[in-house]
């Protein structure tokens, strides 16, 4: 069995709102990221996908608190590090491609300078070497070196996203977080960016955690998938199992609402209602108000993650889901 690069265990995050209410954004989130693999965090808006990334990177806004859990990265618990130690890990070891490349770049700084900035901050090399590295990075993501001195507004949407990727790779991290990297892009540019990420992963052996609400994107690039709902893990399995043997009703309905080009149906299934407000979570299973197969226990007891398939000796992924209708042992993560 391969040692995981990042093990998130029982991560729980709360936001303290100005009016005194508490939003329970994450509860008991656990998953593993293996070296060189891609894991997808999927769910509707407001399910805690981005909060998971921000909690692991410890980039939560001031109102956010991580109240429990660990995130073991290369044997160190990120939650126990001082802010100083954390700063040496961020970008050097794990970098993030933020959502909305339009807004994540500094509009009054040349793109090349923005890519060089993290290299300088981490004192990785001298100025000339850093400059050379910027050129290499731009080339790696398919931007001509001659555009190094241009500003973000002179770049198209796809190029800005490429520049963001180059910036994330600047310090050769071993883990890359990508928060909705293709959401605002055209299909063709989206395909280009996904292709680029796959290529870079193969080339550099990176592990990628991809946050997206697009199940098509996940199927295209991910090895395993965490389906999140209302701040909790609904289902966690290999990509193949998620698409071909989905267990949780939410996963099934999410898949059904995706238009299928190969076998177009007459009506698209949708999930009525909206994800729960995190300040006002339903009792029992968080999905029960929208669930079409709910039973009596669903609004009373919170379902635990149940193991449906154990991790096999060959390293096949585990499959677990949190639903009262499923049978199995409670999933335990080492």
């Amino acid at each position: 069995m391969t040692e995981s690069l990042l093990s998130v265990r029982n991560l729980t995050t709360e936001f303290h709102l100005p009016d005194g209410r508490i939003a329970r954004a994450l509860e008991d989130v656990s998953f593993d990221v293996l070296p060189g693999q891609t894991i997808g965090l999927v769910g509707e808006s407001g399910c805690g996908k981005t909060t998971t990334l921000m909690s692991v990177m410890r980039l939560l806004p001031a109102s956010g608190r991580i109240t429990a859990g660990h995130a073991l990265f290369k044997g160190r618990d990120l939650m126990q590090l001082s802010e100083q130690q954390m700063r040496s890990v961020r970008w050097r070891e794990m970098a993030i491609v933020f959502q909305g490349a339009m807004n994540a770049l500094n509009p009054v700084m040349k793109v090349g300078d923005q890519i060089r900035e993290p290299i300088e901050l981490h004192n990785l090399m001298d100025r000339d070497a850093a400059e050379k590295r910027v050129g290499e990075l731009l080339e790696m993501v398919g931007i001509q070196r001659s555009r190094r001195d241009q500003y973000p507004h002179q770049y198209s949407g796809g190029m800005r996203q490429r520049a963001m990727i180059a910036m994330a790779l600047a310090c050769s991290p071993s883990l890359l977080f990508a928060d909705e990297p293709t959401t605002a892009l055209d299909v063709m540019i989206q395909a280009q960016v996904l292709d680029l990420l796959k290529e870079i992963q193969k080339h550099l052996g990176l592990a990628i955690v991809m946050v997206t609400h697009d199940l098509g994107v996940v199927a295209e690039v991910c090895d395993s998938v965490v389906v999140m709902y209302g701040g909790k893990v609904a289902e966690y399995a290999s990509a193949d199992a998620i698409y071909n043997e989905p267990q949780h009703p939410y996963t099934r309905r999410l898949l059904a609402s995706f238009p299928d080009l190969i076998r177009p149906s007459d009506t698209l299934a949708s999930i009525p209602g909206t994800p729960p407000r995190l300040t006002d979570l339903p009792t029992g299973c968080r999905f029960h108000p929208r669930c079409d197969v709910k039973v009596e226990a669903c609004d009373k007891e919170t379902p635990v993650l149940k193991m449906i398939e154990e991790q096999s000796a060959e390293g096949g992924a585990i499959h677990c889901a949190a639903c009262h209708l499923l049978h199995g042992e409670e999933a335990k993560f080492q």
């Binding site: 509707e44 808006s45 198209s156 949407g157 796809g158 055209d186 299909v187 063709m188 540019i189 989206q190 395909a191 280009q192 292709d195 609400h213 697009d214 199940l215 098509g216 994107v217 199927a219 295209e220 991910c222 990509a239 193949d240 698409y243 071909n244 309905r253 999410l254 898949l255 609402s257 995706f258 238009p259 299928d260 080009l261 190969i262 177009p264 149906s265 007459d266 009506t267 698209l268 299934a269 949708s270 999930i271 009525p272 909206t274």
Partner: protein, 369 residues
């Protein structure tokens, strides 16, 4: 009534002139245009759904804006129920063109009446992309949905107005409508806001809806709801829809016809299922191949086009797709391909198809190059 389609678009052109500096003018540099729409023709029947598909910058939104009179076409005619539409009112008032009638076609010189903008917008309404920005944040839902009725003086009594707003909201799936009357847009979710946008477009009971990327800002689960709603409206009300999107997967299940655009031209048009199952133009083939398939077992060979849509100021010579085309041949750099019939009601503009369709053209081409 005539045998014409409800909406006919003939050789539509829309160029946006680029502002020149004083120096450019003194040096007599030629004025440049952004050729956003460069010769587009299509028909739309009553109750039909036409999807216009293409990447950013292909001109699909410009077509939508021109259809509804937000932009004035540079050339070409738009006929809605055999009346000419287009943002010509201001020019007409200035005495530049007659307001009453216009002519179409140099050979026929057929005279058509002109339709005023106000009448057009009673019958054709637009749904914009971003439900977060297309609703007035300081108006209640009741005010927003009632406003078109007030503007067009359609429902004079308060009771009648309330009744029509209520019907429109409920048809858009906001039930019970009374619960929404006094709420503000910020209190609603993205999907609910898009429903309000649809209700305020449908309150006038238009015959034509122009939907510009109506679901691209929404989550997948909510996307399906909005698409199903549009589909219901079409079935119940017989409204025609021009559906503009960059995502072929969302149109697969409810468009009757698909028009694929590239750099201001329609490169392939045809019945939706036919275009998806049997694409003829290399651009359409590439677009279809990159649609993500929601199953890792079905990962396919994808044709990923490199680069981005070129700048529509300097169009490539010959076929405008040739610099990105995976199967381009020498002749593509020189000859601009014509639309050829490749199946029933199915047209595509590609030189390689021209060769197959009529060998005469190919041999003539070979002689000239």
């Amino acid at each position: 009534m005539s045998d014409h389609a409800m909406l006919e678009v003939r050789d539509l052109y829309k160029y946006f002139p680029i502002r020149q500096s004083m120096l450019d003018i003194l040096l007599r540099r030629p004025a440049n245009n952004v050729k956003a729409v460069d010769g587009v023709s299509f028909d739309l029947e009553r109750g039909e759904v036409l999807a216009i598909v293409g990447e950013s910058g292909c001109g699909k939104t410009t077509i939508a804006r021109t259809l509804i009179g937000l932009e004035e076409q540079t050339d070409g005619e738009i006929l809605f129920h055999d009346e000419l539409v287009g943002a010509h009112e201001r020019r007409a008032r200035a005495g530049l063109v007659p307001l009453e009638a216009g002519t179409v076609g140099s050979s026929e010189q057929k005279v058509f009446p002109r339709m005023s903008m106000k009448r057009l917008r009673q019958q054709a309404q637009m749904i914009f992309q971003d439900p977060y920005e297309s609703l007035n944040p300081r108006a209640t839902i009741l005010e927003i949905v009632a406003e078109p009725l007030v503007v067009h003086g359609l429902a004079r009594g308060r009771d009648e107005r309330l009744e029509r707003v209520k019907t429109a909201l409920e048809e858009a799936g906001l039930r019970p409508a009374e619960d929404y009357f006094l709420r503000y847009p910020h209190e609603l979710s993205g999907g609910q806001r898009q429903r309000v946008v649809i209700a305020s477009a449908m309150v006038l009971q238009p015959e034509l809806l122009i939907a510009d990327e109506p679901v691209s800002m929404l989550d997948v689960s909510i996307r399906a709801e909005i698409l199903n709603l549009l589909r219901d409206l079409r079935q119940r009300r017989g409204v025609s829809i021009v559906f503009i999107t960059h995502d072929l997967s969302t149109v697969a299940y409810f468009a009757d016809r698909i028009a694929v655009m590239y750099l201001g031209r329609m490169v392939e048009t045809g019945p939706a299922r036919e275009v998806l199952a049997n694409p003829q133009h290399p651009y359409t083939k590439a677009l279809i191949s990159v649609i993500p398939v929601p199953n890792p077992r079905l990962r396919r060979e994808r044709v990923i086009l490199q680069g981005e849509t070129p700048n529509p100021i300097d169009l490539p010579s010959g076929c405008r797709f040739h610099p990105r085309c995976p199967v381009a041949v020498e002749a593509c750099k020189v000859t601009d391909p014509a639309n050829v019939l490749v199946g029933e009601n199915h047209h595509a503009a590609c030189l390689l198809l021209n060769v197959a369709a009529s060998p005469n053209i190919a041999s003539g081409e070979a002689a000239s190059t």
